[in-house]
């Protein structure tokens, strides 16, 4: 029996520079069982500002999950990952790396930086939607996350 104890909506930070992919993910998340609020930033610098609640992101909540692309302008996803996992306040937040690359070196390096999981974006739309829903299913229904 899956215990649906999430009463409040979950906050997701999506770090993705491709607006097309953002839109697709949002579409897929609309079908979610769990209510969710998705915040989007389009580069690594803004991601760190958001997470640290620095200006112009002073009033934002701390996200329950970060969906992170690797190839970003200014500061790329790998650096964001390293900085998050080095910070005692931020390292608890699960990071799902969702990226185009399927290259072995990328996968290895990402896990070396302690990402929680690595997913290659499916090309097929239906698969993509499925993957996003599975992410939500796993991290918010099955998995226990710490309280904020």
């Amino acid at each position: 029996m899956i215990d649906m104890t999430w009463a409040r909506p979950v906050d997701i930070l999506m770090v993705e520079d491709n607006p097309g992919d953002v839109r697709l993910t949002l579409e897929a998340l609309k079908e979610c069982k769990v209510r969710n609020m998705v915040y989007t930033v389009d580069d690594g610098e803004k991601a760190m500002q958001f997470l640290r609640r620095e200006a112009p992101y002073c009033e934002v909540p701390r996200p329950d999950l970060v969906i992170l692309d690797l190839n970003l302008p200014r500061k790329d996803g790998r650096e964001v990952l390293e900085e998050m996992k080095a910070d005692p306040e931020l390292r608890r937040i699960p990071v799902v790396v969702l990226t185009t690359s399927s290259a072995e070196e990328d996968i290895m390096r990402t896990y070396d930086c302690h990402a929680n999981c690595y997913i290659t974006k499916p090309v097929d739309l239906d698969r993509f939607a499925e993957v996003v829903q599975r992410i939500e299913d796993f991290w918010f229904v099955i998995v226990k996350l710490p309280n904020k």
């Binding site: 491709n18 992919d21 697709l24 185009t100 690359s101 072995e104 974006k121 090309v123």
Partner: protein, 449 residues
Amino acid sequence: MMNWAVDHRINHGRGARLRESALLLPALILLICVALTALLAETTGYTTIGAIAWGALFGMVLAYVVGLITRRVTLSRTAAHSWERHLFDILLNSIPDAIYFKDSESRFIRTSKAMLWKHAMNSEEELLGKTDFDIFSEQHARQAFEDEQKIIATGNPLIGVEEMETWADGRITWASTSKLPLRDQQGKIIGTFGISRDITERKNAEQALERRTEELAEANARLQEFAYIASHDLQEPLRMVASYVKLLEKRYRGQLDQEADEFIAYAVDGANRMQALIQGLLEYSRVGTEGKPLTPIALEHVLAHTLKNLEIPIHDSEALITHDALPIVMGDELQLEQLLQNLISNALKFKRADTPPCIHISACLEGDHCLISVQDNGIGFDMKYKDRIFAMFQRLHARSEYTGTGIGLAVCRRIVERHNGNIWAESVVGSGTTFYFTLTLAQGGSTND
């Protein structure tokens, strides 16, 4: 100048001694005869003068005969000597290699004509008595001098040393030089002698080849990089096209007319195919970029793994797969798996309509290589396409008949080539196909149990 004497002795000593002894012997004989007869006369009572006269006569005859004999001997010796000398002169005057004899101070005492011409000299006199310092650069001459001194001291020769020669006008030539200790007839080392062969042409060819190989390797690396990056970066915009066209389809299904649905279907299909092609291209370029060094791999295990991967299609097609014992080869495990998987899944795919596939894998060992064959009973192909099937993206059937991008065999060929082998196919239409490829056996390993 002391060593000039050495030179003379070497060249002229023997002959001179022979000539000297030729006169000495008859004179001695004459004297002895005269002395003997005088003594005899004393003891037997003949008059001394008469005896001496007879003795002298006898002695002269004897001396003449002996003289004739020794002259004959010395003539034949000098003739032989002069013949040998003639042969030696011919050798030194005609051979294109630079041959030289040097004394213990590395001064030239005899050289070949070729050596003179090499240094733009007309006669040996110009070179004799000089050293390398007079004809080569300071640095080269110093090295040569040191080498020769070492040879004289240790008696160890230097054979086949390749050296670069720099000339006054900046020209560079290459020579292969051998230097040996020069010993006199008593075995004492009195200098060195050497042969220097011009290898400039060969050396230039070698260097050109090296440069060419380097250029090729670099070009290859760039190409691989390009293919890899291209296929990677192409995926992103492709996903956008494919996904949004599909989203259109889903969102507006039934709201647009039938033609629109058709258009969308073609667009989606195109995007999907492009995706498959890019995946194929990525796979192809990964053979090079993600290839691991070759180590001993048991083909039996690779086959077992492959058959497990293909469990479902094997079951669905009711295929029968058999194999001989397979050897241990030098290879990259993942790539060998990919190779077998591509070949076997092809055999499963191109089966005859009502016949379950029968696939047999065998190995034939020869020396340090093995020939692996994958034989099937499928539809076969016309042998005029035997090379085309290995080309990238080449297909022999319409998409509606059989799926596939046409990259599988191109990947197989690349893998086999990376393993220093060859791959080819033989087929009869309607009967079946056999794919053959060669691999290198692992040292000391044949079939495993």
